[in-house]
């Protein structure tokens, strides 16, 4: 895994990072940020749940950038580091994660790692805890988290070192509406 960018920044004066590299494709960038803002802005599924899935994806795909970023909306909803620490192998026995979050984590593992993990019990648990609309939104989120993590890693945009960083939750840009 490379921490040397494999593509340059398209924004003069800025180092290569996800935004500056994606700027090579402005139409893709604009569409992605509109989608991502809409996704995080929707309250069909709580930001805390989305962030639990995002953190699991970050750990499984080995995305160091994703792993060190926290979105403030999820933090405000109680996703502290003592909970995040349990989003690791063996999360099933955590006493800090809720049953809903454990069902979400099992679905996340199935999508990003092995579909066989979503057995009958796991499927029943997911559908007991989430509505169909919430599952659709979760599925979109995990799809995006996985794709972006892999794109970021393969473009060599992994940071060599990075402190934990709380960022504003992506939002819909007024100009985009």
């Amino acid at each position: 895994m490379s921490t040397i960018p494999r593509v340059s920044s398209a924004i003069p004066g800025e180092p290569a990072h996800f935004g500056s590299v994606l700027a090579h494709q402005p139409a893709i960038a604009e569409s992605f940020f509109a989608l991502y803002g809409r996704f995080w802005g929707s309250d069909v599924l709580a930001a805390r749940i989305k962030e639990v899935a995002r953190m699991r994806n970050a750990r499984v795909t080995e995305c160091g950038f994703c792993r060190n970023v926290r979105f403030d909306k999820a933090v405000a909803q109680g996703l502290g580091e003592e909970v995040v620490d349990d989003i690791t192998d063996g999360y099933e026995t955590s006493d800090k994660l809720t049953d809903t979050e454990k069902a979400v984590l099992k679905f996340t593992d199935a999508l990003i790692h092995d579909p066989e993990l979503l057995n009958c019990d796991a499927k029943t648990a997911l559908q007991r805890h989430l509505t169909p609309a919430q599952i659709a939104e979760l599925g979109l989120g995990v799809t995006l988290f996985l794709a972006l993590a892999k794109a970021l890693i393969t473009m060599g945009l992994e940071p060599e070192v990075m402190d934990r960083t709380v960022l504003p939750t992506p939002a819909v840009l007024e100009a985009a509406e």
Partner: protein, 121 residues
């Protein structure tokens, strides 16, 4: 229709945003190449046959070989492999390709867990 688009049927606004992102990503590449990339990734997941590479130029074969690494070997891709794709597609093309290949992989996985069925679509 992708599994993600199908699952989002009850949320037309989010579905439209997702479809737009998908379309913009594909539109940044030659349509035939985009289709080959999707097919190569789907074949790794056992969801399609591998593309017929007879008649393809070396650059396209290099791109497809790289795409096949995305589902299970993304952390093992080397700088040299990436440089070969950049040489064929240029930097902007490499960015679009990286997003498309990763998205194609994730969409296959969403289909394999039957996301639309789970979401009642």
């Amino acid at each position: 229709m992708s599994a993600v688009c199908a699952a989002l049927a009850a949320d037309p606004v989010l579905a439209a945003h997702y479809a737009d992102f998908r379309d913009k990503t594909e539109a940044a590449l030659d349509p035939a190449l985009a289709a080959l990339i999707r097919q190569a990734v789907a074949a790794v997941h056992g969801m399609d046959v591998a593309p017929d590479e007879s008649g393809l130029d070396d650059g396209t074969r290099t791109v497809l070989a790289y795409a096949r690494r995305m589902p299970f070997e993304h952390t093992a891709i080397s700088d040299a492999e990436a440089a070969a794709v950049v040489a064929h597609l240029d930097e902007a093309g490499f960015v679009a390709f990286s997003v498309l290949a990763a998205l194609a992989d994730a969409e296959c996985r969403a289909a394999l867990v039957d996301l639309p069925g789970l979401a009642g679509a």
